[in-house]
């Protein structure tokens, strides 16, 4: 187990990658590597978090984030329960504050939170003492996704420095984009953003290493990595682009556009995909695609996060 330069996340809340140092990111990625070995074993369970209780508090629907946090906790021996908005007292109008306090009173060690409102996890840290892990808050951040994207990039590319990554699509409403931008910049990846201008925030990150393009071709050109963001039908309904058909034709990642990138370009997508809109099925399932691997890595990265914040990640506890 790597104990890198006395960096520790023990007792910390995971709110956004803007708060991470490169060393802390490195610690998570290295720990995740160990975790990935565990998942590939026949018997996956380790007792690292035995006796710990984790609540997944999800105010929005989720398949992969929620189940991967749940499996991550369970592989590590923690007790994990799920609270979802539709099937809890949230329906009866219980406030976030009261829900958090109720969960805390049951003695949980960490709360993994997904919420529509930006800053809700940060607000939660002021309400309860349990560690808060942001599993996505509005358009603000999705730090575990940002970390698993970095983990996936390193797996295929061997490193970060000097890589060119294109992030394509709805940057405006995307928490994944924001976490990726923070994480990638901190690790030395050049970030190129493109999509319809109605979906690119004004005043975004006017700083070194971040480029905004009007045509996605310009962002894709020579890219080492392309991250395609999910496009929501709701955005079309609110008039941000004329039709999904037009979106696919002009802003979708298809085989032809893929040829503009480097030959060994890595294609990523946080899921769930709208195949035929933002990404063509052929690209999604091509040999360049790491989309399935992202899901596998998601469990490992989330195991790393939970271990690091709850135990500090002592090797004897993990591999015992």
């Amino acid at each position: 187990m790597v104990e890198s330069k006395s960096v520790s996340l023990r007792g910390k809340n995971i709110l956004g990658l803007e708060y991470f140092s490169p060393d802390e990111i490195e610690l998570v990625l290295q720990t995740a590597k160990e975790m990935k070995n565990i998942i590939s074993r026949d018997i996956k369970k380790v007792p690292a978090l035995r006796g710990k209780a984790i609540v997944n508090l999800f105010y929005e629907p989720s398949t992969r984030t929620r189940s991967s946090f749940e499996l991550a906790g369970k592989y590590l021996g923690a007790d994990v329960i799920n609270i979802t908005a539709g099937s809890s007292s949230i329906v009866k109008g219980e406030s976030l504050r009261d829900t958090l306090l109720t969960v805390e009173d049951m003695g949980v060690d960490a709360i993994v939170m997904r919420h529509k409102a930006e800053g809700a996890p940060e607000y939660a840290t002021k309400v309860v003492k349990a560690a808060i892990v942001n599993a996505g808050d509005g358009a603000h951040g999705h730090p575990s996704q940002g970390l698993l994207d970095l983990f996936t990039i390193r797996q295929y590319k061997g490193g970060f420095k000097g890589l060119k990554c294109a992030i394509i699509g709805d940057i405006l409403h995307s928490r994944v984009a924001r976490s990726d931008i923070w994480g990638m910049r901190k690790m030395g990846i050049e970030v190129h953003l493109a999509g319809p201008r109605t979906l690119i925030p004004r005043f975004l990150f006017e700083e070194k290493g971040i480029f905004i393009h009007d045509r996605i071709e310009d962002a894709i050109e020579n890219a080492d990595v392309i991250n395609v963001l999910r496009i929501q039908l709701e955005r079309q309904k609110s008039g941000l682009f004329p039709s999904t058909r037009e979106y696919a034709r002009i802003f979708g990642l298809n085989e032809k556009r893929l040829t503009l990138a480097k030959k060994d370009v890595l294609v990523m997508h946080p899921g769930p995909m709208n195949k035929g809109w933002e990404i063509s099925p052929k690209v999604a399932y091509s040999s360049n695609s790491a989309i399935q691997e992202q899901v596998r890595n998601g469990v490992a990265v989330r195991m790393a996060i939970l271990t690091l914040i709850l135990t500090g990640g002592k090797s004897n506890e993990i591999t015992a």
Binding site: L96, A117, G138, H140, R178, R202, F203, F205
Partner: protein
């Protein structure tokens, strides 16, 4: 009953006075302002040497929440907050439940204010029925019940025909319209200024261009109707410039600004704490500077608090879902003195003017002056007193304010309404 305030620095912008003098109050009226007034036995003498004596402060823009939202604030709590903050007259906005859009509601509120309030309350009526922006409310009727002005505050009057009708119709009654100028479609769901910080946080923004468009349209309509319009809580640099140009060519436009838009920026927005959530939002340093310049060159006529208390549990939640606004009556003087006067940005007589004679002029009120026989509304300010803003000490019911915890220098130490001391050293005397 006579009261003599002795030896203070009297700043009375309405009369061009800024000198050390005594102020004699008799039977609820200002009797005399001059040096060395001799006191006879029947006079209560208060030594205010080293302090500032001004006409009672006037706030043209507050939310007292009556009727219907008394869990947030009411006349009793809100007017005490006003008195604690040095205000002797406050105007309250009509975006209540129900909306104040009928004379009977004005009558009822005036009755309640007489019973519960410790300062003068002016009532602003709704310009349109239920503030829906569709048809004019019975503004003439409301004028006869004593409405001071009309506003759909909280909402922009989107329909230009409706606003133009209002401007024309109110000529008969000589009352102003106060416009909450934000183009609705551009600010929908926005929770903070659209800028670098909103882009970073992923929070939906309210762009300054929404305010600029709305202010420009209002100016053009006022110019066309040759009628007065007052721009509420201006906050955008470009909007200030639009008002400046309009004033130059003789348009009857006036404007107001809040202490927070004069001193705070979007960088102070904390996504875990809705205390800084307010409409219009905290803008950039450039906008703040433009507000200060507008105040100095006369583009902006008044400083208003936009005092908007909410119940503690309403504000104590996710930023996005928390209501906008915070109380400001008890912190305005302290914030303005600390950040503008003590920083050497704006001098004392100008600040006093924007909080007394100038708003009185916009509203055409016989207040905001220490002229002989004017109502004896007087405020005494200690510019040097240092204090820390604590919610436990608020008279307002609102418990969330971005100023809580701040160390301020300067505060009102006495508030006199109609010749009666109602606040001394921060304590309300009932």
């Amino acid at each position: 009953m006579k009261l003599l305030l002795k030896g203070g620095r009297v700043i009375d912008p309405a009369n061009g006075i800024d000198k050390t003098a005594d102020v004699l109050i008799e039977d609820g009226k200002i009797e005399q302002v001059s040096k060395n007034i001799q006191a006879d036995n029947a006079v209560q003498v208060i030594d205010v040497s080293g302090k500032i004596v001004t006409p009672g402060l006037i706030d043209m823009h507050t939310h007292m929440r009556e009727p219907g939202q008394e869990a947030k604030e009411d006349f009793a709590s809100g007017s005490r907050a006003a008195a604690a903050g040095g205000y002797t007259t406050i105007a309250t906005m009509p975006n209540t439940k129900p909306v104040v859009d009928k004379a009977i509601l004005i009558d009822g509120l005036k009755q309640r204010a007489r019973e519960d309030a410790v300062v003068n309350i002016e009532i602003i009526g709704a310009l349109t029925k239920e503030q829906k922006g569709e048809e004019l409310a019975e503004v003439g009727d409301m004028c006869q019940s004593g409405a001071v002005a009309f506003s759909d505050d909280g909402h922009y009057v989107q329909n230009s025909r409706v606003l133009l009708n209002g401007l024309d119709y109110l000529r008969t009654f000589d009352k102003i319209i106060i416009s909450h100028a934000e183009e609705t479609a551009l600010v929908e769901d926005g929770v903070m200024n659209e800028g670098k910080r909103s882009a970073m946080l992923g929070m939906k923004g309210r762009p300054t261009v929404a305010e600029d468009i709305a202010v420009m349209r209002d100016i053009l309509l006022a110019e066309y109707a040759d009628a007065p319009i007052h721009i509420a809580h201006i906050s955008s640099k470009n909007a200030v410039e639009l008002v400046r140009q309009a004033k130059k060519r003789g348009v009857k436009v006036t404007s107001e600004v809040t202490p927070h838009n004069l001193t705070m920026t979007e960088d102070m927005v904390d996504m875990a704490d809705s205390s800084t959530k307010v409409n219009p939002p905290l803008r950039t340093a450039e906008d703040v500077k433009a507000m200060q310049e507008g105040l100095i060159d006369g583009t902006i006529d008044a400083i208003v608090t936009d005092h908007a208390a909410h119940a503690e549990e309403e504000k104590d939640r996710e930023f996005r879902y928390a209501p906008s606004g915070f109380p400001g009556l008890e912190t305005a003087v302290g914030v303005l003195l600390t950040d503008l006067y003590h920083e050497g940005k704006i001098d004392l007589p100008l600040l006093v003017e924007k909080m007394t004679s100038s708003p009185a002029k916009v509203f055409k009120l016989n207040k905001g002056t220490l002229s002989k026989n004017a109502p004896a509304d007087v405020t005494v300010i200690d510019t040097e007193a240092e204090w820390i803003v604590e919610k436990e000490k608020f008279y307002t019911m609102g418990a969330h304010s971005p100023f809580i915890g701040r160390k301020l220098r300067g505060k009102p130490i006495m508030t006199i309404v109609d010749g009666r001391i109602i606040m001394q050293n921060g304590i309300i005397i009932d």
